[in-house]
Symmetry: C2
Subunit: 483 residues, 2 copies
């Protein structure tokens, strides 16, 4: 049975031919699909065009001369039943209905239209939606936004909201999150959240699951699916509508029965899913879980270049649920050999600004400091805060580029030692403000970011998100029963 269900979903995620019904010269689905490996197997349908994007545009799916596995339906809501019937007649196996304007409007006639769609589909075609973005799968070429990463990865996403799924893909690409499958399932008249969760749970390509949900019609199935998922893989869950006003917003968005925040909190806790509070925490924690070691305990070392910020960063860590313990005596002794006295602090947090930009050959580098503290028995995670670019630009001018080319590998080496030899979780913050307009400054920061990412470290533009993600690594570590 499980095998059959699985192969049903494989058929959905790995089609060989795709059609976009309601294609136009600016629809995102056509653009997205024509930019992946499916590009030569995409057929466009819209009676208003004879040609689109230099291809034939067919009047109806029935006119397409090849067998079609997967269709995207993007026609006005009242036309969906007719188009869906055509797809069934054509032998299409999966239909994704992008079109909105069904039960989520709260209007009885639109609910009736949705019921009609369901009655047509059930048992005849796999239906995703309506009111959603559908399926994204880099390995097959399925895609719903044109600029998404086509790199095959390990993160599976199940989202009740379409924009949420889009945003997860877009920002995920900037943060080096790579995806196995992304699902936006919308009103779920046929395939629902638990179906996709079950699939991802057993999907060998998926190693981390991220869920965004606003409500469900079947709490028991969701509970079973979440339990099974959490048993096998780190499963992060974000519930939208956990406040009274938010609950009302959720019900007007997806028409979901939201349930009380407490019910959901208990559900996640009992199933072992890691509940997070917002989009950023979900994305950032997904990144961490997809590439970092797990910290065995709470002890975290902060490596920074500012006394003031080291204090605030310590507060952030402790408020998040971690600890920033004093280094062991032998660690402090070793650090004092390489970090000069004035303006520094070699306790934990380590504010070691004078050696931040030392290159090998100098008495001590940042890599030496990281190596030293990674031996500390109280330390299970290291948060490295790199924010020296503008300072270096000021004292070095254009020479900063050649310095960074030597300095960044030194820092990366220290972090690799801590991770690979000492088995520590290492989070990197390459601090950059979204509104920064200095192109050199941005370029240097991105140079550092890319170097850490190339070695598989999770990198964050601010420290708060890095620390919240680290705490979720710890939560998962506890769930896995790590000592």
């Amino acid at each position: 049975m499980k095998v059959d269900r699985h192969s049903r979903f494989d058929t959905m995620f790995y089609p060989e031919t795709v059609a976009v019904i309601g294609a136009s010269d600016h629809d995102g689905f056509s653009q997205a699909l024509m930019s992946t490996k499916l590009r030569n197997r995409v057929f466009l349908v819209n009676p208003r065009y004879r040609e689109l994007h230099g291809r034939i545009c067919y009047r109806s799916i029935l006119d397409v001369p090849e067998k079609i596995d997967y269709v995207v339906i993007a026609v006005p809501a009242p036309n969906v039943p007719g188009v869906l019937s055509d797809c069934i007649a054509k032998g299409v196996t999966t239909a994704h209905v992008f079109t909105a304007g069904f039960s989520e409007t709260g209007l009885p006639e639109r609910k009736a239209l949705e019921d009609e769609v369901r009655d047509i589909a059930i048992g005849r075609i796999n239906l995703v939606g309506p009111n959603c973005m559908g399926l994204h799968c880099p390995a097959s070429g399925l895609a719903f936004i044109p600029d998404a990463s086509t790199q095959e990865g390990t993160v599976g996403v199940v989202s009740q909201s379409g924009t949420f799924a889009e945003q997860f893909l877009s920002v995920g690409k900037l943060r080096n999150v790579t995806f196995s499958k992304v699902v936006s399932y919308g009103n779920a008249v046929d395939l629902d959240c638990p179906d996709f969760l079950e699939y991802l749970t057993h999907d060998p390509e998926t190693r981390v699951i991220a869920l965004y949900i606003e409500g469900t019609r079947n709490g028991d199935r969701l509970r079973r699916a979440l339990t099974e998922a959490s048993d096998l893989k780190p499963t992060l869950a974000l519930k939208g509508g956990v406040t009274p006003d938010g609950e009302r917003a959720a019900s007007s968005h997806t028409g979901s029965l939201a349930g009380s925040p407490e019910t959901w909190r208990a559900l996640f806790q009992q199933t072992g899913a890691i509940q997070v509070e917002d989009f950023d925490e979900l994305l950032n924690s997904t990144l961490a879980l997809s590439c970092s070691r797990l910290p065995a305990r709470k002890g975290t070392a902060i490596v920074t270049n500012s006394g003031g910020f080291s204090v605030l960063e310590t507060d952030l860590c402790v408020r998040a649920g971690l600890e920033v313990p004093r280094f062991a005596e032998e660690t402090t002794r070793e650090l004092r050999k390489i970090v000069p006295l004035a303006g520094t602090s070699i306790s934990n947090p380590l504010d070691a600004w004078p050696i931040y930009y030392n290159l090998p050959g100098k008495p001590g580098t940042l890599a030496d400091a990281i190596r030293t503290l990674s031996h500390d028995r109280h330390i299970h995670s290291i948060v490295l805060h790199f924010d020296e670019v503008s300072y270096l630009m000021r004292i070095l001018g254009d020479a900063v580029e050649s310095l960074l080319k030597e300095l960044i590998p030194v820092m990366v080496d220290g972090c690799k030692y801590a991770r690979d030899t000492m088995d520590k979780a290492v989070m990197v913050c390459v601090a950059l403000d979204a509104y920064s307009e200095d192109e050199d400054d941005r370029r240097y920061h991105l140079m550092a970011k890319n170097a850490f990412e190339a070695e598989g470290f999770p990198v964050y533009p601010a420290l708060g998100p890095a620390i919240r993600a680290l705490f979720n690594l710890y939560r998962y570590s506890i769930r896995r029963g790590r000592p």
Copy 2:
């Protein structure tokens, strides 16, 4: 007495001549001061150079042929007492000691050195520091980082940490925060936090006060200064070291007696200062308080283009302490006339994506929607989430630039109506990820950001910070006894 104290501080903040003792070819102070209106009144001192930056470099402050009002001392700690004595002999009125390595090291001999510095200074010269960045004042030209904004503004900052003050200036510049005075006071052997607070309280150029503090030696004076400041001006306070580990970090950073987090919380509450949790909240709330109307009540309208995000944004608002009430019936009726049905929600949050990019002449624009809901009696604040750029780029290609040139003024107009005619607090989020590498995307976002800023709106790159800042506007509104 007050007048005398005030004129003492005016002398410090408005010097006519400045010297940097320990100047070098890459020190930030020389570079900073030589890029402001003081540029021709900056004298450089360092026995190791005869010339620096194309100017004479003097062996000693005693060799400078002019009267000097303000010196920056950046020499090794053991040399500070001698240099300071020279400054007194020279008749300098204010000395800022940048040099670190005093009591904050925890070493008895360094504490003794600090005591020596104090004994030399008290009664003979105004001493700022040691271990700090000193004073920044755009109106006089005092500056401690080269790339700070030289625009005269209304925000006064008092910071125990130097990097914190630098960062506040740097990020503040990106966020359109403009400063009256910024103080980094460090170990405060002479002038301490309450001194600067008192001055800013009565400084006519300062309309909002932001404080970063790790500890104090004189709680009673601080209490009085905070009470007076909060009575007259919005006063935001961030305490570093509010967790056990953070408290330890603070004491090793500034050697402060930190006091318990509860003591500090009570202090801020009793004095009327608005306590915030981290750097970002302090900066973002300072921006809001320096330019926004105050919301009379909690009712907030969210204007967005995504159902899923509108739910999460509502949760964010409510968790922050605000409310997202349903619009009044007449508001909904009016909105329905301009917002089409499918995929939208015209309750609050308003998810009105189909009209987001309508230009005047179309049946309804975003400005029309904002105008309509700004009349709602339940609504006291509006949060506008603008995140349409990548969508518009996808459907319009290069034509997006000309559309945005028309669309952005429409949105700005709607917001101006809500603020200026209807007296609502309006927060704008132009969503942009720090690691975004698409230069066009960034340019368009910054175009929107700059347009809103030019009309005096607070603009944020993410919604969470905007909402936390809005809640602090509300907290201040309550403190002012607004109905």
